[in-house]
Amino acid sequence: LIIKFLLGIGFVGAAVFFLSAKSAALLRAWQKIGFALFVGCALIAVMFPNLTTDIAEPLGVKRGADLLIYITAFTLPIFGLAVYAKFRVEYLRMVELARRVAFLESELDAVRREADLLHNEP
C-alpha cells in the first residue's frame, strides 16, 4: 500500500527531525505548521466527508474513515515525540542553570571559609 510507505517514511523522518533539530525556533515553527495542517485537514474532513474517500482511494485505502484513522495513529506518536523533544531541551537547560547555581554556591562557601580562617587567626 502506498499509504503504509508514505506514513512509514513520514514517521521516521519526523522522529529524526524532532529529536535532532538544533534550532529551537525551527522546531517550534514546524510544530506550528504541523498543528495548522492538522486543524485544516480536520475541518475539511468534517465539511467535505466524501473528499476523504476521494483522497484515500488513490493511496490504496478503501474508505476515507480508514485514512483518517491512519493519519490520527500517525499524528499521535509524532505529537508525543515533539513533546518529549521539548522536555529534553528544557531538561538540559535546567541542568545547566542548576549547575551554575551549584558552582556559585560552592565558590561562595570557599570564600566564606577563607574569611573565617583569616578572622579566627590570632
Partner: protein
C-alpha cells in the same frame, strides 16, 4: 595563614603522584546521610581531593559532607546521577592539578584498593579510561535477578557500541584528564553509563577493564537502581542515539 609554597615544590613531582594530589575523586550523593561521612572519611585518607556532588538530597547528607574536607557542590534540585557526575567532573577539571578523575559511589559498595589500582594502571600506561568490572572480579551479595539484568544490559551495549565491555553499569571508573574533558554527560539518571561508552567509542578513547570487588550490602541494594529501571535506561539511550544523528 597556611603554607603558601606550592605542593609540588614542597614534596616533588614523584610525591605528588604518591599522595594522589593529581587525582580528584567525584562522588555523587543523593540521600546518603547515614553512610556518606564514613565513605568520604575513608576516601579522603587516600585521596585528598574529593568533590562530593549533592544531588538535591532531602536528608542530612549536605551537613555530613560539610563536616569533611571534601569540596561540596550542591545541586539546588534533584537532577539525576548523570547530571551529578558531569557537575563533579566539571568541578574536578577546574583544578589544573587534576590529571586523573575517579568516579566512586557514596553507598560504600566500592573498594578503595580497586580505585587505587585503577589510578595506578592509568599512571603507568597510555590508557585513557579504566573501567571496573565485577564480572571479571567479584560481586558479593549480588542477586540472581540483578545479575541477569546487568548481563542483559551489557549484551545490549556490546551490540550497540561494539565495545566488548563486560560490566558497563559499574560506577567505578577512572578517566585521564583529556578523556574526562570529552565526556559531556547529558543523559539523565542511570543512562549515563550507556552514554559514557558511546563517548569512548566516538572519541576513540583507549580503555582497560579492571577486575574489581563490589560488596552489596542491604543498604546499597536498597539504594541501588531497580531492575525495571533498565527499561528507562534503554529507552533514554535509544533516544540519545537518535538525537545525535
Amino acid at each position: 595563614m597556611g603554607c603558601t609554597v606550592p605542593f609540588a615544590r614542597r614534596f616533588g613531582p614523584q610525591d605528588v603522584s604518591i599522595m594522589n594530589q593529581d587525582v580528584t575523586i567525584v562522588m555523587p550523593v543523593y540521600n546518603e546521610a547515614t553512610i556518606v561521612r564514613s565513605t568520604l572519611t575513608h576516601l579522603l585518607d587516600r585521596f585528598p581531593r574529593v568533590v562530593a556532588v549533592d544531588d538535591g538530597s532531602r536528608d542530612r547528607s549536605v551537613l555530613e559532607i560539610a563536616d569533611t574536607d571534601a569540596r561540596l557542590v550542591r545541586h539546588p534540585i534533584n537532577l539525576g546521577q548523570g547530571a551529578a557526575l558531569q557537575t563533579g567532573i566539571r568541578a574536578a577539571l577546574q583544578d589544573p592539578r587534576t590529571q586523573f578523575i575517579g568516579l566512586f559511589d557514596a553507598d560504600g559498595q566500592h573498594n578503595l584498593d580497586d580505585l587505587s589500582r585503577m589510578v595506578d594502571i592509568l599512571r603507568t600506561s597510555t590508557y585513557d579510561v579504566a573501567l571496573g568490572s565485577r564480572f571479571t572480579g567479584t560481586a558479593t551479595g549480588l542477586t540472581t535477578t540483578r545479575k541477569a539484568m546487568l548481563k542483559a544490559g551489557a549484551r545490549y551495549l556490546r551490540m550497540t557500541t561494539g565495545l566488548p565491555i563486560s560490566d558497563p553499569h559499574n560506577g567505578l571508573r577512572v578517566f585521564r584528564r583529556n578523556a574526562a574533558e570529552t565526556l559531556n554527560i547529558t543523559a539523565p539518571d542511570f543512562s549515563h553509563a550507556n552514554q559514557i561508552l558511546d563517548r569512548i567509542r566516538q572519541q576513540k578513547l583507549s580503555y582497560i577493564e579492571v577486575p574489581v570487588n563490589i560488596a552489596y550490602t542491604e543498604y546499597s541494594k536498597a539504594k541501588g537502581q531497580t531492575s525495571v529501571n533498565f527499561i528507562n535506561i534503554t529507552f533514554d539511550n535509544l533516544i540519545d542515539r537518535m538525537a545525535r544523528r
